[in-house]
C-alpha cells in the first residue's frame, strides 16, 4: 500500500501539484487520470523519487520514502518496477539483455538462472522469439511489453506505469491493460497507472483518482465514474463523441 499525504510540488513558485492525499491499494490497479498538464506525471515521478516533493510525505507500507537518505531509497527502489511512456528500453542491449538487466545488477543468480527468469518474464507478457532483437527492431507494443517484463523481473512490490498504452492501437492498448491487471492480481502488486485513456479506466480502474489543475478532484472506481456529477470530471470523460453517445444511451 502506498500512502500519499498532502504532497505539493512547485516550480518557480507555481504549484503543479498541491495538497494531494491518496492511498494506492495493494493488489489493485490504481489509476491516476487527468488532462495533459494536470500534474499526473509529476505525481508518479514524486512517488518514485525522480522529483522531490516540497511538502508532505509518501509511505510505502509504512516506510516514509520522503525522509529516507540516498542509500535507503536505493534499497527501497529495488522493490519498484516502472513502465515508462516510451518504454525506456536500453538501446544498446537486446530484448533479453534488457529483461536480464535488473537481475544482473541486483541478484546473485547464475547466468542460466537469470536467463530462465528473463525468458519466463518475456513469456508472461506473451513475447517469444524476439530475445536477440534490439529495441529499434521491435514495434511500440512490443517495447511496452518488454518494458513490463523488465519491470517484473525482480518481483516488484510496487509497479508504476506512465501512460502505458499511449501511442498504441486499441487492440494492443487492451492487451497491455489486461496484462498489467493480471500481473497486479497474480503477484499482489501495488500498481499505479497514469493514463488519460477512458478505455483503460473502464477496463481496469479498480481505483480511480482524477487530478485537475494539480489538485485531487475526485476519487472512486470504474463503476462510479460514469455516474458522477463532478463537472470537471464529466468534461474530461465525456470529451469525445464516442463517450457522449455512450452517456446519452445510458441516460436514456
Amino acid at each position: 500500500m502506498i500512502e500519499v499525504n498532502n504532497i505539493s510540488k512547485a516550480f518557480d513558485g507555481q504549484y503543479v501539484i498541491k495538497n494531494i492525499s491518496v492511498v494506492f491499494e495493494t493488489g489493485k490497479t490504481n489509476l491516476v487520470i487527468g488532462q495533459s498538464g494536470a500534474g499526473k506525471t509529476i505525481l508518479i515521478k514524486a512517488l518514485v523519487g525522480l522529483q522531490e516533493v516540497d511538502e508532505g510525505s509518501i509511505n510505502f507500507d509504512g516506510r516514509n520514502f520522503t525522509s529516507m537518505n540516498f542509500k535507503e531509497r536505493k534499497l527501497l527502489r529495488q522493490e519498484f518496477g516502472m513502465v515508462f511512456q516510451g518504454g525506456a528500453l536500453f538501446d544498446s542491449l537486446s530484448v533479453i539483455e534488457n529483461v536480464m538487466f535488473p537481475l544482473k545488477m541486483f541478484s546473485k543468480l547464475t547466468y542460466p538462472e537469470k536467463l530462465e527468469r528473463a525468458n519466463f518474464c518475456l513469456k508472461r507478457v506473451n513475447l517469444d522469439n524476439i530475445n536477440n532483437l534490439y529495441p529499434s527492431e521491435i514495434s511500440g507494443g512490443m517495447k511496452k511489453r518488454v518494458s513490463i517484463a523488465r519491470s517484473i523481473a525482480l518481483n516488484p512490490k510496487y509497479l508504476f506505469c506512465d501512460e502505458p498504452n499511449s501511442g498504441l492501437d486499441p487492440i494492443n492498448a487492451i492487451i497491455i491493460d489486461s496484462l498489467i491487471k493480471e500481473i497486479t492480481e497474480e503477484y499482489q502488486i501495488t500498481t499505479v497507472i497514469n493514463t488519460h485513456d477512458m478505455n483503460s479506466v473502464m477496463a481496469i480502474g479498480d481505483k480511480v483518482t482524477f487530478i485537475y489543475n494539480g489538485h485531487k478532484w475526485w476519487e472512486g472506481n470504474k463503476n462510479q465514474i460514469m455516474f458522477t456529477d463532478n463537472k470537471e470530471l464529466n468534461n474530461f470523460i465525456f470529451a469525445s463523441e464516442l463517450t457522449k453517445i455512450i452517456k446519452s444511451k445510458i441516460s436514456s
Binding site: K45, V48, G49, L50, R73, K74, L75, L76, R77, Q78, F80, M82, F84, Q85, G86, A88, L89, F90, D91, F101, P102, K104, M105, F106, F160
Partner: protein
C-alpha cells in the same frame, strides 16, 4: 553567476560519479567495452592526424631554415619536440574532444531524453556512476597509449616526408631526433594527456547528463560538449605547462 552554477552542478555530478559502483564485475566489463568503443576506435583518426602533422612540421621547419649556419638535423629535433610537447597531446586532445566528446554527450543525452536514465534511477542504480565512471576510466587509461602512438607516427612521417621531398637527409633527421632528448618531456605530455582525457569525458558527460528536451537539445549538448571541453583543454594546457615546465 552562470559559471558558478555549472561548476557547482559539475562538482556534484562528479561526487555521484566517483561513488562506490554497484557491481565490480559489471564495471570491469563496461570499462573494457568503453576502451574499445572510445579508445581503440579512435586509433585510426589519431594515426591519420599524427601522420600529416609530423609531415607538415618537418617540411615547414626544413623550408624555413635559410641560414646556412643552422644545421638541418635541427629539423628532426624540432619535429620530435613539437610532437612530444604539444601536438600529440594537445592537438590530438582537441581532435578527440570532437570525436569522443560529441559521442559521449549524444549517447548520454539521448538516454536522458528517452527516460533511460530515469529507468536506471528507478531501479535503484546510481546512473551517473554506472554511465560515466567507466567512460572516464577507459579514456584516462587509453589516451596515454594513443599519445605515444601519435608521437611515433608523427616522428616517422616527418622522416618520410623530409627524405622523400629531399628537404632533409635521412642521416640528419635521425641524428636530430636522437639529439638532446629530455625524458621528462614524455612524462610532461603524458600528464597533460591524462588531464585532457578527464576533461573530455567528464565535461561531455556533464553536458549529456543534464540535457532535457528532445533531439534538438541533444544536438546542442553535443556541440557544447565539444566547445567547452576544447576551451578547458586549452586553458589547462597553459596551466600545466606553467606548472610542469617552468623551473
Amino acid at each position: 553567476m552562470h559559471v558558478f552554477f555549472h561548476f557547482g552542478r559539475y562538482t556534484k555530478l562528479m561526487v555521484k560519479v566517483f561513488s562506490r559502483p554497484e557491481k565490480f564485475r559489471v564495471l570491469l566489463n563496461q570499462i573494457f567495452h568503453e576502451i574499445d568503443s572510445l579508445g581503440i576506435n579512435s586509433l585510426g583518426i589519431v594515426i591519420i592526424i599524427s601522420f600529416f602533422m609530423g609531415a607538415v612540421i618537418t617540411l615547414q621547419a626544413a623550408y624555413n631554415i635559410e641560414n646556412p649556419f643552422i644545421p638541418l638535423w635541427l629539423v628532426g629535433l624540432g619535429t620530435r619536440d613539437s610532437m612530444i610537447l604539444e601536438f600529440s597531446s594537445t592537438i590530438v586532445g582537441l581532435i578527440l574532444a570532437g570525436k569522443v566528446g560529441s559521442s559521449i554527450a549524444s549517447e548520454i543525452g539521448t538516454m536522458r531524453v528517452t527516460e533511460q536514465i530515469d529507468a536506471l534511477e528507478v531501479m535503484g542504480i546510481n546512473s551517473a556512476s554506472y554511465l560515466i565512471f567507466p567512460k572516464i576510466i577507459a579514456v584516462v587509461f587509453i589516451n596515454p597509449f594513443l599519445t605515444i602512438v601519435s608521437i611515433f607516427i608523427g616522428v616517422f612521417s616527418g622522416w618520410i616526408s623530409g627524405v622523400l621531398s629531399g628537404a632533409v637527409s635521412s642521416e640528419s633527421y635521425i641524428y636530430g631526433i636522437q639529439y638532446a632528448f629530455v625524458p621528462f618531456y614524455i612524462t610532461y605530455t603524458l600528464i597533460k594527456t591524462v588531464f585532457f582525457a578527464f576533461i573530455i569525458t567528464s565535461v561531455s558527460a556533464y553536458e549529456g547528463y543534464y540535457c532535457y528536451g528532445g533531439a534538438l537539445e541533444v544536438g546542442k549538448a553535443s556541440t557544447k560538449a565539444v566547445v567547452y571541453s576544447s576551451l578547458i583543454i586549452l586553458l589547462f594546457n597553459v596551466i600545466l605547462t606553467q606548472l610542469l615546465l617552468v623551473q
